[in-house]
């Protein structure tokens, strides 16, 4: 039965892939204009782009918060807020910003804003695993004021050779987000700008890539079933976060990886073995993880390294006395509850007493930063290259100290494929010692009406500024 399920899954994936190359009829060139009506099915968006890990959240944030660049399909870097990004030396990089880009409430975009946005990932209050993306920079990206050469020029220097630096800078968590005096939410620069009405975003004519095709975005926050109904009635055009059987588009790039982080001193050293014997990842992914999930057996998601399932561990014995543990998970992600319950129930059969505790995403990040947890379901949006992804994974596992020894060795490989190979090797080698159990990886899930054309980028996120209305 399970092999049939796997094959069905593969067929579904292939089918979804066929929709990926979504041909649009009767539009020879992208047409400007129209209101793109989006239904967002996730719960309230997190307050900060660095917390917007889920692809739906990241897509939402990308409407008004852009970074220096975007990673496009075909391993191509598309500068957005940067006019030019180039390597100036073996460890030096020069980034010049576009002219005249204005942020609402914060004035023109300067290199200071960029530095400020990045350094907050390393601050204690807003510590983020994505700070590993900045680790190669001198000072680990904590102090970047020295890199600000002029208001429109950033001169970055890395402590060791790291050819994937520019690709890392395209990650959505590194989007420019500058706190404003007025409100709590930071301001940024994106293809759309918020208006006085919360649900309406207008096209930004000054966006460096050119104004988006759509005139405006109209966003409604509804639950999944209602959103799909609205889609079928033609009252919304895109449903972010929910898959419809007939109209779903899934980016084939599944980079939103969910891990189970654990503290060995609390759970005991045999926890990993117990987990592997108790929980069948394929089954977990198929039934409990949300749609568009693939099981993840290794430290890096399947999109970044070919997965090799660990050999089936022998069935563990029931533990006589296990300490009571608490499993923290994100209360904003409904699927995490199912996954957490599955883990709880399976480990219960082995004698573990696990209490589930949903917390807000910022609280989850906080607890991760302080190391105050027993077990935690932690999901991050991985960058699309193996080497930076490995850095994020190591950081996520609490191995910040390991970065100093691991990353330089990987960055020393100048050629891309060899570097990727090295990163994968290290991922395999480190898997056993990092207290991080990979579970599954998800891609962005959308349902779209055929009236709109919506492309995806190399990070697996939809590019709403490139969306346009297809003919009548």
């Amino acid at each position: 039965m399970s092999s049939a399920r796997v094959s069905i899954f593969a067929a579904a994936a292939a089918f979804a892939h066929s929709l990926w190359v979504q041909p649009a009829d009767a539009a020879a060139r992208a047409k400007y204009g129209g209101t793109l009506r989006i239904a967002f099915t996730g719960p309230e968006a997190p307050p900060d782009p660095s917390l917007a890990d889920a692809p739906s959240d990241a897509a939402m944030f990308r409407m008004s918060y852009e970074g220096l660049c975007r990673w496009q399909r075909g391993d191509r870097l598309q500068p957005v807020l940067a006019a030019e990004m180039a390597q100036a030396g073996p460890r030096a990089w020069r980034i010049s910003l576009v002219d005249g880009a204005k942020m609402r409430g914060a004035g023109a975009l300067t290199a200071h804003h960029v530095a400020q946005s990045w350094t907050r990932l390393s601050q204690q209050a807003t510590l983020s695993p994505y700070r590993a993306l900045l680790y190669p920079l001198r000072g680990e990206g904590r102090q970047l004021e020295g890199s600000v050469f002029s208001p429109s020029l950033l001169e970055l220097s890395t402590s060791f050779a790291w050819p994937d630096l520019l690709a890392s800078l395209c990650h959505p968590a590194l989007a420019v987000a500058v706190p404003t005096r007025a409100s709590g939410t930071p301001t940024g620069l994106g293809p759309f700008v918020s208006t006085s009405r919360d649900e309406l975003l207008e096209q930004n004519p000054n966006f460096p890539l050119g104004r988006p095709y759509a005139d405006r975005l109209k966003i409604a926050f509804v639950n999944g079933r209602r959103a799909l109904r609205l889609l079928s009635l033609g009252q919304v055009d895109i449903v972010l976060g929910e898959a419809d059987k007939t109209a779903s588009i899934r980016s084939p790039i599944a980079l939103y990886a969910t891990y189970l982080a654990f503290k060995p001193e609390r759970t005991g050293a045999e926890f990993r073995g117990d987990f592997e014997s108790a929980v069948d990842r394929a089954q977990l992914t198929q039934f409990f993880a949300p749609a568009a999930s693939v099981p993840m057996f290794n430290l890096l998601p399947p999109a970044l390294m070919p997965q090799s399932a660990t050999a089936a561990s022998p069935a563990s014995k029931r533990r006589a006395s296990a300490p009571p543990l608490t499993l923290l998970y994100d209360q904003a992600l409904p699927e995490q509850r199912l996954v957490a319950e599955r883990i709880q129930v399976r480990l219960h059969d082995l004698g573990y007493r696990i209490a589930l505790k949903p917390v807000s995403r910022s609280e989850l990040r906080n607890r991760w930063a302080l190391g105050q947890f027993d077990l935690m379901l932690h999901a991050v949006l991985m960058p699309p290259l193996p080497a930076p992804a490995l850095a994020v994974a190591i950081e996520l596992a609490g191995g910040h100290q390991l970065l100093a020894s691991e990353l330089p060795a990987i960055g020393a490989e100048p050629e891309g494929p060899r570097r990727e190979l090295k990163a994968r090797e290290r991922a395999m080698a480190l898997a056993a010692q990092l207290p991080l159990i990979p579970l599954y990886a998800q891609s962005a899930v959308l349902s779209a009406s055929p009236r709109w054309y919506l492309p995806f980028d190399g990070q697996g996120l939809p590019d709403f500024d490139d969306a346009f209305a297809v003919g009548e």
Binding site: R342, V345, R346, A355
Partner: protein, 551 residues
Amino acid sequence: MRLRTQLALAFACLAIVPLALVLPWALSNLRRTLTQGFDARVASAMIAAQSVLEQVSKASTVGAEELADSPALEDFAREVHDGRAAPSTTTLGERLMKSRGLSVLSLLDSQGVTLSSGHLPARLGDRDPTLFAAAEQPPGREPMPVMVEVRGDAGPLRLPALVAARAVDYGDTRVWVVAGTLLDSRLAEELSRLTGAEVTIAGSGSTLAHAGAADPPNAEKTIDFPPIARLTFAFSRAPQVSAERGILRAFVLISGLGLLLAVVAGWVVARHLTRPLEALTAATRQLAAGSLGVSVREDSSGEVGDLVASFNRMSAELKSVTERLISSERTAAWQEVARRLAHEIKNPLTPIQMSLETLAAARGGGSAEFDRLFNEGVKAMLEEVERLRRIVDEFSRFARLPKPRLAAVDPAELVRQVLALYPARAEGVRLKTEISNGMTVQADRDLLTQVLMNLLKNADEAIGGEGEIAVRVRRHPDGVALEVQDSGPGVPAEHRSRVFEPDFTTKPDGSGLGLAIASRICQEHGGRLELDAPAGGGALFRLVLPASPER
């Protein structure tokens, strides 16, 4: 017991008796009624609880049947048959369960593997032997009580449930629908709300659910779902008990109040009645004590008023009579004294006359023995004159005997004082005292002292410096007895009756008045002086005085 108290008690008793008769009867009646009411309530509550449980059972069976017939299950069975597993099966069980108001729902395949679970969605893909066993049971024994695992905070909890199972077939694929309701705290709360009892669901030795509260004392009823669960309903008797207690308290309060009122009323009435009687009693006592002319000034009517008036009349008469008597006694006493005096004086006068006559004769005759006769005669005349003087002294002393001023005197203390004042005794005189304390007499202190001194002196003289004197103070049927006993020769029997007469003496120089005076004094005190001859010889003088009435 005094009349007043008696009357008051009588009133009180009058009030209490009916209450006391009524209370136990009323209380037992009340208890019976309350118990009946309680039992009826318990019975109806248990009927309601049974019906709820039957409904729950039926809901399980009906739920399973309805689900088995529903198109959702048909589609699901087809999907299972075709081998298509939609990811939504994870939540299918939960949705179906919630939409039909059940709390247990598992869809199992023909091997017992969970295809979807509503109560524990995380069990998808695992074998569930318990529910599979329930599924394979032949219908007719439904719903079955089983222990199921449901979601809990720290892991799955095991709770009892009533489940029923039906099969859905599609081709050669069979899907089991096992549906039911948990016997959990929600059910316990519902039952508790319905019955008003404390509901406890216990299974496998521990309490699984609990709702409501019942203060002890409790009456318990149980409903069993063997072998997994037992529902215990504890109905509190506390309201009944407190009702009883309350009524009892009320009764007691009312009784107490009534009693108090009765007592107070009784007291008031009694007082009204007995006050004149008490006044009469007091006056009578006074009268008896000697004060004359006592009258009762009380306003009363009826028989008591007549009584009071009679008393007053009687008292006045008594007074006048007593005065007349006293005056006549006085006259008689003077007459007696005069007679005695005359007699006493005549006695020595005769020898004097004789002597003088002799002398006169002697002188006239120029007798040679005149000198001798003259000397003898003078001597004899001087003796007689001395005697005369003594008699006069004593009689004047007797006459000067003051009226005793009575006051409360402690005889024991008086005796001790007298003994202390008594001059030192000669050696060979043993003094023995037996003094009882705690008595009081109405007496004139000085006069009694005099009497005691006189008696002691007599005793002293009687033993002549060698012997024993015993002084006693003791109770006497007529009051208090003060005794002086000596171990002397005693008083011969023929003289015993005459010792208290004024002119009797055995002493050479006695006037014979001492004892008479003592006797007179005793009489004035309302008592008497007696002479006894004790068994061991000697003389016993006993002074008996009436005891002062007890206050």
